[in-house]
Symmetry: C2
């Protein structure tokens, strides 16, 4: 840890006050800057620093899990992986992530653009506010990062070097390996869920041996399908929005994994929001309209992913895989298009598996989501959670047999209607 020292609102200006990254944007004297600690996540310190001319975000890793305390140590190097992920995401999908102004590896801190007036997508959704273009923006983000971080596009020596770099992000992968893929499926110590209302369905899931086989196959994909650089933690808390703009933050869980991982986790979160929203929007018509928008967003996210991925396949396929020499250069366009469609089909299958698992762990594991947590009446919350748990199970078990996002959306819509929520 050497010279590392956690920042405080009181010490920040003195410690960082001479950095160009700060003075250029903030203006005035550092002694006049306003510093607020606003970290509401589970892991880090986050400061908003405001000067006379502007403001910045200072994010610093703590040597432990903030949510739990120093009994759960977590290495500072995660800031290093976040930094490396952010610069790659900025290159692969310009404008999609906050601009980096300064990185200090020893202090595990990143000074970055403050997104303003953006709020966390999760808050926006709980408030029942739509975000124009959300599906397109994030679908494109996922496609560009999936494609451009892989052997479809990169020089393979660089891809292999990145694989090596990010494979050191052991501790954050460990969190996912345990909290997402393992703990929810047995009575693990850190789990919690709405009890006793969910006892029955939880017992059912944990006794579903087929489900537990499939989930571990997905965990194996997480651990060994090193296709591309994943964000690693893409959910409604990792997206900041206005009513018509979306940006992605917090890629400290970055790792080389399956192309369907990020978009799958995200769609799992959207489906939970879809199930939870009736508790947050009192007006039936408004609720139905918002739910439709969530489903449209799911559809648009995947549709845009496919469109963008296909465009990149046809225009930027410069990597070692599916080379032009074998396809286009031989006049074999069908081979190229067939390979693309089969790959998209495989990504979709993975997407559904990861979405379903995310819908389990957010209800049964350690880290829950506000969409459900803020429903104070447990008897109201539990049936909605149950619906998500069952839907997740269906996705995992049927991921090879669900054809097209429109069918999944139709299934979500019909199963909602069928069981009623009023």
């Amino acid at each position: 840890m050497s010279d590392y020292k956690a920042l405080t609102p009181e010490t920040l200006s003195a410690r960082l006050g001479t950095l160009d990254a700060m003075t250029n944007l903030l203006g005035g004297s550092s002694t006049d800057w306003q510093v607020r600690e606003v970290g509401d996540g589970n892991l880090n310190l986050v400061f908003i620093v405001e000067g006379t001319a502007g403001s910045v975000i200072v994010k610093q890793a703590l040597p432990y899990v903030r949510l739990v305390g120093d009994s759960w140590p977590l290495p500072l190097k995660r800031a290093y992986f976040e930094y490396h992920a952010l610069i790659r995401q900025a290159e692969r999908d310009p404008g999609s992530v906050p601009e980096i102004l300064h990185f200090d590896e020893t202090q595990a801190l990143i000074i970055m653009e403050r997104l303003q007036p953006h709020i966390i997508l999760r808050q926006q959704m709980i408030a029942g506010r739509k975000v124009a273009g959300l599906g397109e923006t994030i679908g494109r983000f996922c496609a560009r990062n999936a494609f451009r971080g892989s052997d479809l596009s990169m020089e393979t020596a660089k891809k292999k070097a990145d694989l090596a770099l990010f494979s050191d992000n052991v501790e954050l992968c460990d969190i996912t390996e345990n909290l997402v893929f393992t703990d929810p499926y047995f009575d693990a110590e850190m789990n919690r869920y709405t009890t006793p209302q969910l006892d029955g369905v939880v017992a059912e899931l944990r006794h579903d041996q087929m489900l537990k086989v499939e989930v571990q196959h997905m965990k194996r994909a997480f651990s060994a399908k090193a296709e591309t650089l994943c964000h690693g933690d893409l959910h409604a808390g990792s997206i900041m929005v206005t009513d018509d703009e979306s940006r992605v933050i917090d890629p400290e869980f970055a790792f080389y994994g399956p192309m369907g991982f990020d978009i799958g986790m995200l769609i799992g979160n959207y489906l939970m929001a879809y199930h939870a929203i009736s508790a947050h929007i009192a007006d039936d018509a408004a609720c139905a309209s918002y739910q439709e928008w969530v489903l449209e967003t799911i559809d648009e996210t995947w549709t845009t992913f496919c469109d963008e991925f296909s465009k990149l396949w046809r225009t930027e396929r410069t990597g070692i895989l599916y080379p032009h020499t074998l396809y286009e250069d031989q006049g074999h366009l069908m081979a190229s298009e067939l390979a693309l469609e089969q790959l998209l089909s495989e990504i979709f299958e993975d997407l559904l598996g990861f979405a379903g698992i995310e819908m389990h762990r957010r209800i049964l594991g350690l880290a829950h989501i506000a969409e459900f947590e803020t429903i104070e009446d447990e008897d109201k919350r539990a049936p909605l959670e149950t619906r998500s748990l069952k839907f997740g199970q269906a996705l995992v078990m049927n991921r090879k047999r669900l054809h097209g996002i429109d069918r999944v959306v139709a299934m979500a819509r019909q199963s909602q209607t069928g069981t009623g929520t009023s």
Copy 2:
């Protein structure tokens, strides 16, 4: 390259003569040692050094591809990967590989146990000599290395560190990516094949768009399915045998890849030997008997792989995947066994794909095999090569629909009988 200098038979004793690794085993004065360069592979210098008391092998990488010359540079660091693979293989399957006596990274040289009176399996097979226990020994080698190098067994931080280490073996992976998965399927510069006899079947393969899609899916598995530490080049030239012992050598192509890669490549070689052998054994009964032995060896290799892998699954599953906490500890033994069978099924599918591709590249690509090359009469060679090419195509295209090695063996036997070779 700094202080690197290639050894010669004349300089070897003087340069290495004071090393314990040499003097301990060889005995006498280094000036009396007999040194012969015997490298018959494509890449390296290999010396046998004999003293009064014993002998050793000195293997040194050259900074280029020996087969091609210094127009094709190849980094010395491959000796480093070979060394690291050898010590892991020795640990994971004791006695399976030559003992390492000394490693010098700067000189890219490994001094190792001389296997005696072993010869290369390929020579043994061309001579029509069987090897007792071959299938069992190598099936077990593949299973132990597949299992023990993976997240089924290893502490995941160590597995991730090994993934990072071997991901730097870029140049040797590049050889496989090009020579195995790409060049054979179009008119690449370094290709050669028996022409004009094979012109027809070669055109047919290269116009088979479905085949070229499937082969690139397998290439993607090679590049991104980082399940375990593979030998990377396991064929009949990487196994040394007596009539009843088998050892594995030359893992410089080691990389993290699919569990079915090594055993698939090897079985592809066995199937080619099966097709080629009629040209090498004049006596019909002896030929038929040897062919049966080759098929039995294929069966035994995979059957032993399954048995050993299953045993390790039940006794050494200490990694993050398919944990006992979810299965055995819950009394859910069926889940554990089902997951095992499904994983073996997936490995088998990969095996068939890699076997088929190996059967193409050894006939159409740069590096051919002696089983075919030593058949001087091209009109006799071509029909046998054609049979291998077609069989390989069938394996790649039907790998998801061939159930069990016995069915593949039956198919090989029947298609041999059906078309005749006399």
